[in-house]
Structures are given as structure tokens and as C-alpha cells.
Amino acid sequence: MTVTANHLQTGDLNVGGAALLPANGRVVERWTALSKVSVTMLVLAQVALALAPMTLSDGMVDRLTVLFIYGILALMWNALAGYAGLVSVGHQAFFGLGAYGAVRLADAGVSPYPALLLAAACVALLSVPISAFMLRLKGGEFAIGMWVVAALCHLLVNLDTLIQGETGTSLIALQRYDAGSRRLITYWLALATMVGLAWCVFGLLRSRVGSALQAIRDSEEAAASIGVRVLPTKRLIFVLSAFGCAAAGALWLATSVTFQPKTYFSVQWTAYMLFMVLVGGIGTYEGPILGAVVFFSIETLFGAAGVTYLIGLGVTAVVFALVLPRGIWGAVERKLGLQLLPVGYRLRNRDTSS
């Protein structure tokens, strides 16, 4: 029999990473045969994606870039909501600021592609003082408080004469590259950012921080009482999510070139993130990736339906929240005890060798 334990508290278990020896003749393990296979497959898939543009059409490369950006957003929102217990409806603030920062930096003479990542780093820095305000709020207060921050950022960006209000501007500096190499660089940059952030979250969840995060999510008071440093742990994830969303915004700017504040600071991005994470499985590692693929497919198939499509997204999100709050992957995990990527700990009876 195998028991999945998401958060055996204490850092001692982390020492070896391999099986340790608890009492009762049971073994704690992190890697199973299945997870070794799936991690290998994942690495191979990432290598394949990096090489894919050689065989794919231009249109497919563009679409995959969009998928990677959705993947970044879903990963970041899930890290925040699923692991730190912070539901934000204002992360479009960082998405918009990332794009705005890239426009600003490029205007100041920074080469456009480095400007994208530099902008994300600047936004991450800016998110530190924001976290000092916002992390004092809980639950719904945090959720809408972030929305106020997003609204304020939108208004302040509009004041910048470079942006010309809602008319917006473009990342003209990108035109020094021809369309073909622009497409490829953006594709690789989006893929690298998504993969980098995914492994970063993976590493975090397997470390002490991961255990601390899940303890906080389940009960902040209880976590604090056993010595988890609640605020710094939350802040770490908050800043990481700000960085990721800003990178996503900057990459979106690289794909669409034009910057219109209204589009980038739209609460629609939160609706998308929420949908991907809820449907895929909030608080599971694999869930948001699955959610991004599901959302991407639905958008490709029904996106043209406009407002009906948006109503459908909303209804689906509500149904998942009410009926299947752990999403598709959460249900799979519970039914089959399946965990492809070993972010938790598992207890196994020693006699049942595998």
C-alpha cells in the first residue's frame, strides 16, 4: 500500500532525498520508478520542444509561444494560490508592468530582448514593497487588495507620456530583427522562461520552503506555532510570482509588439489564470501545466465565439470550484495515487518492494 503525504513537516526528511528510515517498518521515499520515468520523459520533451521550430510551421511556432506564456502564468498563479494560499485577482498588475518596463527600458536604449528579462527583474524588485502592504491582508481582502494595486498601476502607467494613455505604443526596437529570427528568439525565450520557472518551483517545493508553504496553506497559525517563518516564506513566492507574471507580460509584448495598457492590465488575465489552475488542479504540481494545455486547446477551438466563449470559461470555473475543487489532476492523483513529479513524500510499507 502506498500513502501519499504531501507535507511531512520538518526539514530533516530532506537530507538525503532518498529513502530514510522512519518507525513502523515503513520507508519514506521521494522518487518512485514512475516518477523517474516521467521526469526523464519531461526532460526529453523539453529538449524536443527546443528543437521543434526546425520542423514546425511559423504559425505553429507562434501558437506554441502563446502556450508557453499561458504555462508561465498558470505555474505562477498556482504557486501563489495553491501553495501559499494567496488568491490574487490583481496579478495582471505585474503582467502589465513587465510589458511597460520592457517598453521603458528599450526606450532608454537597452537592447529589446535583454530588456524583457531586465523588466521582469525590476518588477520583482518593485513587488517587495508591494508585498509589505498586501501580505498583511488575508483571503478575499488580499484578493481584491491586489486588484486595487493593479488598477492603480494601470492608471499610473497611463500618466507616462511615452505610453500616450490608452492609445498605447509599440516596442519599435524589435524591428531591428527580421520577422523570422524574432519569432525564433521569442519562442526560445518563452520556452526557457517556462522551463526555468517550472524547475525553480519544483526545486522550491522539494526544499524546506515547500513543506513550509503547504503548512502555511493548510493553517497559518499552526505553521507559525511549529516555527515556520510565515511572512518571509509567503513573500518569496509572491516575488517569484511577480517575476514570472512580469516575464509573461514582457514576452506577450514581444509576440504582439503593441502595448495598450487596457489589454495588459485587464482582469481577463486573472480569469485565464484562475481557469487554468482550477481546471488543471490547484495545489498540484502537474495541474497548472495540464490546465494551460486545456485552456490553450479550448481557446484555439472556441476563441472565435467571443463572449459566449468567455461565459463558457466562467461557468466551467464555477462548476470546477463547486464540484471538483482540486481540478482534473487532483482527482487523478487521489483516485490513482499517481504522482508523476516527486514534489512530496510517500510512505511505503517496507515489505512491498518496488
Binding site: 494560490a81 494560499g85 488568491v87 485577482v89 509589505a132 502592504f133 498583511r136 491582508l137 488575508k138 483571503g139 478575499g140 481582502e141 484578493a143 481584491i144 487588495g145 486588484w147 486595487v148 494595486v149 488598477a151 492603480l152 492608471l155 499610473l156 497611463n158 500618466l159 482582469v267 486573472t270 480569469a271 484562475l274 482550477l278 463572449v307 459566449t308 468567455l310 461565459i311 470559461l313 466562467g314 461557468v315 470555473a317 464555477v318 470550484a321 463547486l322 475543487p325
Partner: protein, 295 residues
Amino acid sequence: MSWLNQIVQGILLGGYYALLACGLSFMFGVMRIINLAHGSLAVVAAYGVLTLADRYELNPFVALALVMPGMALLGWVLQRLMLERSARAGELVPILATFGLAVVLDNTLFSVFGADSRSLAPSIDTLAYDGVELAGFTIGHLSVLTFALSVVLLGGLHLVLAHTAIGRQIRSVADDPATAQLVGVNATAVNAMASAIAMMTVAVAGTFLAMRAAVDPYAGAPQLIFAFEAVMIGGAGSLWGTLAGGIALGVAQSLGAQIHSQGFLIAGHVLFLLVLLGRLLLAGRPLKLALTRSR
């Protein structure tokens, strides 16, 4: 003079925000749920009144009287089908569910009524622009009516909570649902009732929004933010705090507009953040904000 005038207009505007925030404050106080569909529901009510007023040429106040029971029913259904169920699944789930509901409501309004913004102003004749001169200030009739109504509604809710049997039941459920049930209070019914009451105030707020300005299908989001800011700025544990918060928000916005053409909204958001910062400096430790009571 113009600064003083801005303050007076800001106070009157605050009456509308208090009206808007009243239901949010009430639901949060009783059920500990922040309803992210609050603004969208106000806009739904506004469209209900607009439709009745247009199609059957009803007086908007008569139309409101017809819409209110409908909104009460909607509140009851909402509580029983969505909020209660999602609250059982964890404290984050109601946020996700009500946000999803807001997306559905906004886009449904768009698909039914189209993108045009509409107003009730043409149906209320001179009330929309009439005013009295008072000590050199022009005071709009509609603003005064809105302000008075918000005081009456908040006061009424306060009286109901403090002095009636249902009020006592609501307070007991808010304090501790499990114990309330032990002594024979039906917590499910009480919550559904509270939700119905909140939705009736939302109907009033939506109607006054459509009278004083124009509404469009996506007007719900800013209304939610205003209501939330009023509740949070007000800070106190009572409904009167919401009135004070609404007035502070209204005055800040109206002074902001005086300073800069884009300053109206910015000033409101900045005031909200300043209030948070102030509490942070005063308390140092995790804040007891708005209606969060120590348990």
C-alpha cells in the same frame, strides 16, 4: 471655494459608496465571505430596472420595488447553491467561485444587452439634474436622496441586527455557527436570509448607479473595488464605519479630480493604500482590519 465645493460633493458621493458597500460589508460581517460578484450583481439589478423602465415605461422606483424581491430570491439561491457549498470546500473556494460568477454575469449582460452604456437619467425627469443652492454650493437632489437613503439603509440594518430576533440569530451565526445551531438557530436559513437582505441593498445601489451615471455590462468591476475600498477604509467593526469609509473615499476622489484630470481614481486607490500603511505602522503586527473580528 472650489476646494470646499469639491469636499461637499465628495461627501455626497460618499453616500453612494456607502450605499454600494453596505451589502458587501453586511455579507462579510455575517458570513465571512467577500463576494467578488458584488459589483456585477449591482449592475445586473441596474439592467433589471432599466429593462422594466424602458419596456413598460415604469417609474424607476416602482421598477426597483419589483426588482428587489427578485434580487432577494437570487441572493437566497446564491447562498444555498454556491456560497454555502464553496465555503465548505475551504476558505479560498468562495473567492474562486464568486470571481467565476462575476465573469459569467458580465459577459452574459454583454451578450444580451450589447456594449452600449445606458442610464436611468432620462426616466427620472428633473431629479437627475435638479438641485438647490445652499450657502453658495449646488446640492443635487439625487445626491441628497442617495446620501439619505444610505444612512437609512445602514441605520435600518444596524437596528435589525441590534434589536430584532432575526438580528440576534444573524449575529449568533456570525460569531459561531456551530454553537448557534446547538441552541436551535438554523444557520443555513439565517445565512440565506442575510444573503437575501444583502442582495436587496445591492439592487438599490445598482439602481442609484444607473440614475446618477451610465452603466455598461462591464461596470461591475470598478463598483466592486469602490465598495471594497469603502469597507476597508472605514475599518471599524460596525456598519457606520462603512459610511465613514464611503465618505472618505468620495472626498479623496473628488479632491483628486481637482488636482489632476486623471486624479479621481488614483486618489481613491492611494487613500486605500495609505490607510493600510497607517494601520501597518500603528499596529506593527498582523492587522485587525475592517470587519475581521478576533475569534
